[in-house]
């Protein structure tokens, strides 16, 4: 009986892991990088100075918007801190007659409606890049495909992941007893130990991140609860995001109060730093300013807000305490995204994410390692085996090379290039495609080692390029006490060394015996020992 259950769980674990494993690898890898979303936003715009005095930047933003869009329908300003490159702002023009009002009407995404205010309070001109936002969006929206399909795919993959984790706990029954065991140089055994170690050591993280990941997509995956309780979409939005409706424009011009003064007052009233603010009908008698508390000091991402009259600076409304369900969802999303985490905790998140990525990768490789020994003729494996083996190379070794290419494109593409930000991303996929071709064309052992070596070299050279080709690099960062560029460069070096080590290990791997029947997996078994550690 017990064996029957374990067997069925094992089958479920194998196939739920394999079928969406490649997608999960991409999701885990980009999600892990996205923990440094704000940091990368800055790293990928090395022209910009660090923001020292956020309120000066806010004053600059207000002056800029006063000139640029005095009669807009609304302004939106994300307040800067020392992690972000500056104050990002959007404005929404008054809807023209006949144009649909609301978010879709004004075109928040339109490029001519946004600007970045730098540390000196003046509009900054930086290279056109999506920065860390790309990793964040790709993590659940993927790329080159309609967002809704991508979210369904990622949602299904996340549910599969949850299945794989839970069945994995049953399948690898000894993981808790063998918690500290790593048998080195023992082929399949070592792979299994490594897979288990990356899984168990960060198990609380894996369970949390997968479960809360499903929660972020819950309205898409299981819409019935909301459909049953809310017939009206606006009522649902009101319940989730309580807010005050924007007033109509009166046409009576009254200057707006100083926003930085409101920020100070709101921080006192809400009991924490302000993250962003929205001004509706600026410069009018009906102006309203909504300030949102920053999610950096709260577990709940759905932060509280306060509304002021824009002309007098008097508070007129404060968001009610969230309901139980909304607070639960908000806290879960908060845990998932780690927006509250300071640098130290973010490192823990990042390391756990790396462990998760390795867990998925080692699980995928384990599928081939396990089956290779049972092949009737290891020299000529069947089609299914070859497909999995090569897809593993294409994704596990190929995609990181694409990511390295994106970082290089960010440094090398000319600043004046048209659609530059898009081309940075295209470069990732062009290089990845080339890597896939290589993976399909070459013997797996060669493809693994050459792709790992290329990734390693690209990552190692990037900090070196920053020293000569970028105004703002590891040395200048030490000089001004700004550790972010140094931290990113050091991480690039560490990962570069890691990839080179892997490449060497795979390239030098010789099967232990010439005896055909006992030949061990040719490709990557040894890599796991390092990886597990």
């Amino acid at each position: 009986m017990s064996k029957g259950i374990r067997q069925s769980q094992s089958t479920l674990h194998t196939w739920s892991g394999l079928l969406l494993g490649w997608l999960l690898f991409l999701v885990f890898l980009t999600g892990t990088i996205a923990f440094w979303r704000e940091g990368l936003n800055r790293y990928m715009r090395p022209e910009l100075a660090r923001v020292e005095r956020p309120l000066t930047v806010l004053d600059g933003a207000q002056r800029f918007l006063d000139r640029k869009a005095p009669d807009a329908k609304s302004w939106f300003i994300a307040l800067p801190n020392d992690q972000v490159p500056g104050a990002q702002l959007f404005w929404q023009p008054q809807p023209k007659k006949g144009e649909r009002a609301g978010r879709s009407g004004g075109g928040r995404g339109r490029r001519d409606n946004q600007a970045l205010i730098g540390a000196d309070g003046l509009p900054a001109t930086a290279r056109d890049t999506r920065g860390g936002e790309f990793f964040y969006r790709f993590h659940f929206d993927l790329y080159y495909m309609p967002v809704i399909w991508a979210r369904w795919l990622v949602g299904i993959a996340a549910v599969m992941m949850l299945v794989a984790i839970l069945t994995g706990i049953v399948t690898h029954k000894k993981i808790f007893r063998d918690f500290f065991t790593l048998r080195r140089g023992k082929g399949q055994r070592s792979w299994l130990d490594g897979h288990n170690a990356t899984a168990v050591l960060a198990l609380p993280f894996h369970l949390m991140i997968t479960y809360t990941g499903v929660v972020t997509l819950m309205a898409l995956l299981m819409p019935w609860a909301t459909v049953a309780n809310y017939t009206d979409q606006t009522k649902l939005l009101d319940a989730l995001f309580p807010h005050v409706e924007a007033a109509e424009r009166t046409g009576k011009p009254v200057p707006l109060v100083r926003l930085s003064a409101l920020v100070r007052d709101a921080e006192r009233r809400l009991g924490g730093p302000i993250g962003s603010l929205e001004v509706s009908q600026p410069g009018d008698a009906a102006a309203r300013v909504t300030l949102f508390r920053s999610p950096t000091t709260l577990l709940n991402t759905r932060a509280s807000s306060i509304v002021y009259a824009g002309t007098s600076g008097k508070p007129v409304w404060q968001s009610p305490a969230p309901g139980g369900a909304a607070a639960t969802a908000g806290v879960m999303i908060g845990l998932h995204a780690g927006r509250f985490a300071d640098t130290a905790l973010r490192w823990i998140y990042f390391l756990c994410g790396v462990a998760g990525t390795l867990m998925v990768a080692s699980g995928l490789v384990l599928w081939t390692v396990k089956r290779r020994e049972k092949l009737p003729d290891p020299a000529r494996p069947h089609l299914g085996f070859r497909v999995v083996e090569r897809l593993n190379v294409a994704v596990i070794a190929g995609f990181p090379l694409g990511v390295a290419a994106l970082f290089w494109a960010n440094r090398l593409l000319p600043a004046t290039m048209l659609a530059r930000a898009q081309w940075e991303v295209h470069m990732l996929f062009i290089v990845w495609t080339a890597a896939i071709v290589l993976a399909l064309a070459c013997k797996p052992q060669h493809a693994w080692s050459s792709l790992f070596a290329l990734t390693g070299v690209s990552l190692l050279l990037l900090p070196a390029f920053n020293l000569v080709g970028t105004r703002w690099n590891a040395i200048s960062s030490l000089a001004v006490g700004d550790l972010l560029p140094l931290g990113v460069d050091a991480s690039m070096l560490a990962f570069g060394v890691g990839y080179l080590w892997l490449a060497r290990r795979v390239a030098h791997h010789v099967p232990q015996t010439r005896n055909f029947r006992r030949e061990r997996p040719l490709t990557t078994e040894h890599m796991m020992q390092e990886v597990a550690a």
């Binding site: 918690f179 080195r184 960060a202 577990l299 845990l335 550690a533």
Partner: protein, 92 residues
């Protein structure tokens, strides 16, 4: 207090690691007796409880719990690396 929580978690997981037959044998050259195993493990649990207390005292309930899990995972990873990759033996 945060550093204390991290150190306690590290001691706890090292104790759990030492309390496994393979590592005990390698480290001390002797077989792990049932009483020593129980000793190490209860010490580990005690340290883990103290670590949780320290973490919650340092950061409050909500963040303290999140951090505590972070400390535990870091400590487990650190103990794992130390026990498996550091070539250290006592009494040999």
């Amino acid at each position: 207090m945060s550093i204390m929580a991290m150190l306690l978690a590290l001691i706890a997981f090292s104790a759990f690691g030492v309390a496994t037959h393979g590592h005990y044998q390698r480290l001390t050259g002797q077989r792990l007796s049932a009483s020593n195993k129980a000793w190490c493990q209860s010490a580990g649990w005690l340290m883990l409880t103290l670590s949780a207390t320290a973490s919650i005292m340092a950061k409050g309930w909500a963040f303290g719990c999140v951090w505590w899990f972070g400390y535990m995972m870091l400590a487990a990873g650190g103990a794992f690396i130390a026990l498996n990759l550091a070539p250290l033996t006592l009494n040999k």
